[in-house]
Subunit: 343 residues, 2 copies
Amino acid sequence: MKQKITIRDVAKLAGVSSATVSYVVNGINKVSEETKEKVFEAIKQLDYQPDFTAISLSKRKSNMLGVMMPFVDNSLAPMFRENYYYTEMIGGMESIARKNKYDLLISGVRDPQDCKSWVTKRNLDGLIFLGLFPEALYEELKSLDIPIVLIDNYEEFGKSYHNIRIDDELGGYLAGKHLIERGHRAISFIGHDLANFPVDWNRSNGLKKAVTEAKLSTDAITFFEGKGSSFEIGYEMGTKLLELGDKSTAIFASSDILAMGIIKALQERGKEIPHDYSIVGFDDLAINMISRPGLTTIRQDVFNKGVVSAQTIIDAIEQKISDPVHVTLSIELVERESTRRLE
Amino acid sequence: MKQKITIRDVAKLAGVSSATVSYVVNGINKVSEETKEKVFEAIKQLDYQPDFTAISLSKRKSNMLGVMMPFVDNSLAPMFRENYYYTEMIGGMESIARKNKYDLLISGVRDPQDCKSWVTKRNLDGLIFLGLFPEALYEELKSLDIPIVLIDNYEEFGKSYHNIRIDDELGGYLAGKHLIERGHRAISFIGHDLANFPVDWNRSNGLKKAVTEAKLSTDAITFFEGKGSSFEIGYEMGTKLLELGDKSTAIFASSDILAMGIIKALQERGKEIPHDYSIVGFDDLAINMISRPGLTTIRQDVFNKGVVSAQTIIDAIEQKISDPVHVTLSIELVERESTRRLE
DNA sequence: TTGAAAGCGCTAACAG
DNA sequence: CTGTTAGCGCTTTCAA
């Protein structure tokens, strides 16, 4: 194996000290043009690559970002396999990270200790949290003094961190309004554990708001809660809805993937979408293109959410911002074929 | 910010030298039980976390694995957004990596230089390649002397690296046999640039084999080649197939996502699956659950492919293997509702 | 069985 | 403007 080219090799070849090389490499402006010239020449000749590990050690900065994902069944596998929401967002983060010469480290976390030690061991410069974690985790991390970005967080304690989200209530409202305007008077809401998941709770709340605004009784809504937000759960809920003989004409699902599961269940039982049920989803992920009929949904730009999150944390790391940043990204209803006007 | 706890703090508290602490931490067996005891006690008391960066610098080993993904349109975004094949596989890698205390770094590469410098800068211990890259890249990397795992590679030069793949030709053969046994005598193959993508070429070749074996003329197959393997391309190809007035009764698509695009195109033009066309896909990704009718496909365990790849590279890093390992994982045909027997 | 000390490659006072 | 030098936190000879 070839010997690694170090800053000293460059220094020697350029006939200067390693400090000078370091200055040049880091663009510290106190080196004469002439010397710079020589150094650059030597760098090119040797194909010198500064070692991030060493930089990291001496600067206490790794240029690495940690991305925390929730475990499902003690593993991240289901996340990667089925949570297209997260992978799409990670795509956005990656693009910004690379542009700024950061690398992304992705991990699931068991307990706060684990997480903290991961950050310490790897010298991570910042942390992005996808999903909900126990408050103790954030508490534990406070002492680390690195920027933290929370996505879709509504917790009180979350306010002291950077926050990137959308207006979930507005999303629910738009969905509700869309259905009500099309004559639906009995709507089923299908979401994930409303008591514990503020995102779904807010979406359902938006629906309620639309119903109230239209001067309908809130009985117009039937609530179904699953224990998760997967295709299978959607399928389960759809089946349940039929079994219960629910009389609603429209369904608002708190995520696209849930909606797809519901649609499958309904279609398998001979129901036609949108003839028998109008359905609205949420997110507008890339998988939507697969769905037939095309899914009417509340579109959020998930990729961009990743972009903004990564940019926020990098800005924070590089001291361009200090106070917690709270960003609310825009959403819109996209009408496709899964909803219809009730005659 | 709290001062970082170093090995010296532990040493001091335990009343030993830092070298001794290092021995204990690394399980180097030349420390008396008694001293070990004291050291462990001190570690616990201080909640000492060895710093990977420092370890990395002094051992020249980072415990980080690089995963290279191909760029699409100069970005990884489409990969994360739509290539469920890769994300599913990354899930598998992550699980093994974490178990072995490795972290995964994911990157796209522009040119060989870039890649090499990434490895050098980050001190990566190993590299996994998803997809096809120019040969020059691998050449460039040779001098780095780190283990490299290639996924789905059929190139001649790939033989000197570790290789994880399936028998793609067998897959094509199984698909073809399935269709032929069900009475289909005119089959369209839809794949990605056969001249340059051996995976698709092998799959099509398997189909040919089945056709030949059944003593049919190879005219029985019509080939369609798209420039990619996405839903959109599938849609495009499906449309084209109809426009050409192709008389085939069955379609073998070289990936599920392609198949879904094809199905969408056909269904939109009023064709019924499997009544008008029987369709077989390839991979059996999680998105398949969305498809209606359920897609008959060649199932490979993509998650497991990630697992095996990661395990292989870790074994190589830790010197448990030396010669290039070539693994061929098993596949099977999964029959669902998208294929039918021709009467 | 333990410790002193010289690195690993780079940065950043400080001195000149 | 440039160089000297002391770290960053850990490993690993080598000697005791």
